[in-house]
């Protein structure tokens, strides 16, 4: 299990990255944290002509609060996010989800940009991005564009990013003060990709309830459960509304079967975890 031969580039600027991607015309792979790409290389399931390593671009690793948003440089390590005071204060849902990403030694290298660009529908970050309605910034030879998750995730392991585009930033709206949150995940082993995961955030503004819900592991892309959000936004965070939202979640999702779980089981879990996530989010919410 040794990687095939490839040319290796570790540029220090984004411009060089894009120039290289243009030059290889689809035959190059961007190397971020490498926690998904290097296994694929070792199995020889990926055989790019070249690797363009982003790890030497210092300017791609940052966490900044800006205008009600938190901006993450694509090369921000998951480990940095896990221990970031800004994230703990502004995006506690992301912090909790981070604990479910692999294991600490994986998070030491894994990055937020890499995880989202890899587009594994069982992964935690795409679900959080979807739940919170964040966006990503991509840069290519024609400049920058921002994409909401619905425009980014195409299907399993596939995004709409062009071969000469690179994801540079992830923007998440800061959660309001007093918001409650929960990331519920069911996997067969600790640290595995989710069989099903549910990201939830809720907050109250006077009598008005806002809810954010998205799933991982139940279909080719992370799914925002807008209809479930509407139930609790309409009826409040009552037990009955949570139950109704959970039932709706089971109806909404379109999971596939794999060797770890049947489609029906996933559908069922989507409901169970939606209820658990909303219940726990209600407990952590203030105001």
């Amino acid at each position: 299990m040794k990687p095939p031969k490839f040319e290796y580039h570790a540029p220090s600027t984004l411009d060089e990255v894009i120039a290289l991607l243009v030059r290889y015309d689809g035959d190059a792979k961007v190397l971020a944290g490498g926690q998904s790409l290097v296994p694929l290389l070792n199995f020889r399931l990926a055989r790019p002509a070249a690797l363009v390593d982003l790890n030497r671009i210092k300017s791609l690793a940052y966490i900044q609060e800006h205008d009600g948003h938190v901006r993450f440089g694509a090369m921000t390590r998951q480990r940095t996010i896990e221990f970031s005071p800004v994230v703990a204060r502004r995006l506690p849902l992301l912090r909790e989800a981070t604990r479910w990403v692999g294991h600490l030694p994986i998070r030491s290298r894994g990055t937020i940009g890499g995880s989202i660009a890899h587009a594994d529908p069982s992964a935690e970050y795409p679900a959080v991005l979807t739940a919170l309605g964040g966006e990503v910034v991509a840069r290519g030879p024609k400049g920058e564009r921002t994409l909401p998750p619905a425009d980014l995730f195409e299907t399993y392991l596939t995004t709409t990013l062009a071969a000469d585009e690179v994801l540079t930033e992830v923007r998440l709206p800061a959660m309001p003060e007093g918001a409650g949150w929960a990331f519920e995940e069911f996997a067969r082993r600790r640290g595995d990709f989710a069989i099903v995961g549910v990201a939830a955030a809720v907050w109250r503004d006077g009598s008005r309830v806002t809810a954010r819900l998205a799933t991982a592991g139940v279909g080719p892309v992370p799914t925002r459960l807008r209809a479930c959000e509407e139930i609790v936004e309409r009826d409040g965070l009552t037990d009955a509304a949570i139950d109704a939202a959970a039932r709706r979640a089971s109806e909404l999702v379109e999971p596939d079967a794999d060797i770890h779980a049947s489609a029906d089981y996933r559908r069922h879990l989507a409901g169970v975890l939606t209820a658990r996530a909303l219940t726990r989010a209600r407990e952590t919410a203030r105001g």
């Binding site: 299990m1 067969r188 082993r189 600790r190 640290g191 595995d192 990709f193 069989i195 029906d264 089981y265």
Partner: protein, 806 residues
């Protein structure tokens, strides 16, 4: 001597090197000059005919020195002997057809592994795909694809073994129950994979370094395959092996393959198996379909049983299979008193990877079924699962006990061990808590499982696979034995070195041997250096040598104790001579030879060693110079299988009693272990810390098979769990946090120290105890577990269909 080292949790000698990264595993082996690396080309098809090889591109690739294919294998090697009479031609690589995904078809040798893998991709093997069969029952249906045309069927072997009068037992029974079980294919996946270095010497000797663990019967088998006299094939096993659990006994075909590649390449060749190769094509236990019947009286007395087994050995039958069916022959009846048994064992070949010993070899299967039947019988008769077992257990006054199948249970107190487990588990309280939980609608269950834990297989058991008529032929040579050896020597300064030929994989042999020798010679373990690097050219070994079948705790330790005692006797005789007394007047006490009574000089080991080595004139007439002794220990109860198929398949027999409580999550169907108690009787325990380490590890292997691990195939014979992302090895978070271990000690009368093996331990009971506990939890649904692994998704589907039943 006041303090004894045996029985103490002495810290391990091995730990210093292993904790500091100074171990010597096969891949760390000091470089052999000019060593090249091999990559193996493997079949992508589960079944197909090989039409053509083209190695020209691979040969031309950078750094490549040789490529061999199945053609070379067919020309230059012989097939391995197999344990059945069916003409299965098993070579070290595919020659005519491929029969499972991952089967070796060619080997590339290059300057390094990266280049070897590059070139392996360039080897072109044209294969015409053939229809595939992976299911044991489908493989025996008429019209099923046949893997081996010369055999004509996929049945590699079949035996119907009858003990007592089972038909009568079933006629006279007041209750008869039947069940069908499925046991999954899984392997212990040691974290260190297979590794080999092969080098041909100019004198025609082939030296092979590998993490092979025995049995060393595979050495002469491999020599024959390579066309070498046995004394021209040298096996060396490095001091450290990164786990095995039976799996590395099956490395030997690769030894032949890499040796052949090294011969062609003209350079030493190293091959380190990668994880993909390991999951695709190393070894695992069999998956089995079992039909069980039990005949009993209304009071719960079991009269007899019928076992019908279909064991899936994959594309070929590789020795020591069909041990999957016959390894537990002597303990087929487990801890129970019944006398009538019929075993109908079919060994079936399908397009899956090959099988072999895996921790608990065949016993996990056996007890999953038997203990499942005991619970069904208890439920049928309205008896508690503990009570039904008590009514059938062998009693202490029955030992030593000859089982109807020929086993010779050397010692035990089964009721005491069961009572202890029940007491520690607070079984009655558990039942009360369960009733309360059930009233609240929770799915809480309690399981019980018992097992006779066999150690030190008698090589003779394998012949149970052969018909008695075949075994009666004059040209047939009977087989039996379980032998190991050790040497103990004293240097001129009185320090001791013990030399073993064992192949430990983490069991702490050096530590344990130091404890034994220290006790026998009145020293401390620090005074004893233990060398255990197996080398077939320099060690005294037998074809049953090796560290498998829970051997060391029983046979290895015995050889060490006897060698030390032999040496001690010589020291006593020598000292008596120096004291000018008859040997009967002196004794070895507190590290020195002293007069039995009265005053007089005493001679310490150090003192005697100096004199004996430096002044041979001081030796009594006729005494051989030198202070060393070699002992070879063999069990006399290891006899060949008899004409009625009875065989004492192991040599010492321990006992396990377990109680487990679980809760099944009503929403996710996830299983949580609430309590787990395991009581073992392995005779004298030499090092409790090490013994309990074996139990913790064994239990998690059992749990892996019961809940997480499975080598799963699709209908095309493609492995679906070919990575560690899909083949789920339990982590620290899945391992039960609270395991309560206790012991009952019934010393074996057959070993000098009274010890038995316990390396396989709870790997053989956990599948049974957790299946019984989950079944008990699901009583409100009328469900019983018949298949493993119990995945959350699978269990949820099962529960849902039960809930939908009217």
């Amino acid at each position: 001597m006041s303090d004894r080292w045996i029985g103490k949790s002495v810290k391990r000698v091995e730990d210093f090197r292993l904790l500091t990264g100074r171990g010597t595993y096969i891949d760390d082996h000091p470089p052999v000059a000019n060593v090249h690396q091999a990559a193996i080309v493997r079949s992508r098809y589960a079944h197909g005919r090989i039409l053509r090889y083209d190695v020209s591109k691979a040969l031309a690739a950078e750094g490549v020195v040789a490529v061999i294919t199945g053609e070379d294998v067919a020309k230059e090697t012989k097939p391995f002997g197999v344990g059945v009479t069916a003409p299965v031609h098993y070579y070290c690589a595919a020659t005519d057809k491929v029969r499972f995904v991952g089967e070796p078809v060619a080997v590339v040798v290059a300057r390094d592994r990266y280049l070897a893998e590059d070139a392996a991709e360039l080897v072109d093997v044209e294969i015409e795909p053939l229809p595939v069969v992976i299911d044991v029952e489908k493989a025996l249906e008429p019209g099923a694809p046949v893997l081996h045309e010369k055999v004509g069927t996929n049945l590699a072997g079949h035996r119907r073994l009858v003990y007592g009068d089972p038909d009568r037992a079933f006629r006279e029974a007041e209750v008869v129950l039947r069940e069908r079980f499925r046991f999954p294919k899984y392997g212990s996946t040691p974290i260190e994979t297979y590794g080999i270095i092969a080098r041909w010497e100019l004198d025609g000797v082939c030296t092979v370094w590998s993490n092979f663990m025995g049995p060393f019967i595979m050495h002469p088998l491999t020599a024959r395959v390579l066309g070498l006299p046995e004394n021209k094939l040298r096996f060396i096993v490095p001091p450290d092996i990164g786990g095995s659990f039976g799996i590395k006994s099956s490395i030997y075909p690769y030894i032949a393959l890499i040796a052949l590649a090294a011969k062609h390449a003209g350079v030493p060749v190293k091959w380190i198996e990668d994880r993909r190769e390991h999951l695709l094509a190393s070894s695992s236990g069999t998956d089995r379909v079992a039909y069980r019947e039990v005949a009993a009286m209304k009071d719960g007395t079991v009269l007899g049983m019928r076992y019908k087994w279909l064991d899936n050995v994959g594309g070929y039958i590789r020795s020591p299979e069909p041990g999957c069916s016959f390894r537990p022959t002597g303990n087929f009846v487990g801890p129970y008193n019944f006398q009538h048994l019929e075993v109908d064992a079919s060994v079936v070949m399908t397009n899956k990877s090959l099988t072999g010993p895996n921790r608990g070899y065949a016993c996990g299967h056996l007890y999953f079924e038997t203990e499942g039947m005991m619970d069904r019988l208890a439920a049928k008769l309205g008896l508690d699962p503990v009570e039904i077992r008590r009514r059938n257990l062998l009693q202490p006054d029955q030992f030593p006990y000859r089982t109807p199948t020929g086993g010779y249970y050397d010692s035990g107190d089964y009721p005491a061990a069961l009572d202890k487990a029940v007491r520690i588990a607070k079984y009655d309280d558990l039942r009360r808590e369960q009733a309360k939980a059930r009233a609240e609608g929770r799915w809480v269950g309690i399981g019980v499982a018992l097992a006779v834990d066999p150690s030190v297989s008698n090589m003779g058991y394998v012949a149970t696979a052969l018909d008695p008529q075949f075994r009666a032929k004059p040209e047939y040579l009977p087989k039996s034995g379980a032998v190991d050896s050790a040497t103990v020597k004293v240097d001129p300064l009185g320090r001791v070195t013990a030399i073993l030929g064992t192949t430990p994989q983490g069991q702490g042999h050096q530590t344990i041997v130091a404890q034994i020798v220290a006790d026998e010679l009145g020293l401390t373990p620090d005074d004893v250096t233990v060398v255990d690097e197996m080398d077939t050219f320099t060690r005294v070994w037998s074809i049953s040598s090796g560290t498998y079948s829970s051997r060391f705790g029983s046979v290895g330790t015995s050889a060490v104790a006897l060698a030390a005692r032999k040496l001690r006797a010589k020291l006593v005789e020598y000292a008596a001579h120096l004291m000018e007394r008859p040997a009967s007047d002196v004794e070895f006490r507190d590290g020195a030879v002293r007069p039995r009574t009265g005053k007089g000089p005493s001679y310490s080991v150090k003192d005697l060693a100096g004199r004996a080595h430096w002044n041979t004139e001081s030796l009594p007439d006729g005494m051989e110079p030198g202070l060393q002794a070699t002992a070879v220990f063999g069990f006399t109860v290891a006899k060949a299988v008899d004409a009625e198929d009875r065989v004492n398949s192991s040599n010492t027999y321990g006992f396990i009693a377990e109680v487990m409580a679980v809760e099944v999550d009503r929403q996710t169907a996830a299983i949580k272990i609430l309590k787990y108690v395991t009581v073992h009787d392995a005779g004298t325990i030499i090092n409790p810390m090490i013994a309990e380490g074996q139990i913790y590890g064994g239990a998690l292997h059992g749990l892996g098979g019961a809940l997480y691990e499975e080598l799963k195939y699709d209908d095309d014979g493609q492995l679906l769990t070919g990575t560690f992302m899909d083949y789920l090895v339990p982590t620290a978070s899945e391992a039960p946090a609270e395991i309560e271990i206790d012991h009952v000690v019934s010393p074996s009368p057959l070993t000098p120290l009274g010890s038995k093996g316990l390396g396989e331990s709870s790997s053989m009971t956990v599948p049974a105890v957790i299946a019984n506990a989950v079944s008990d939890a699901l009583v409100p649904l009328g469900l019983r577990i018949t298949e493993l692994p119990m995945t959350p998704s699978g269990l949820w589907e099962l529960i849902r269909s039960a809930q939908r039943r009217p």
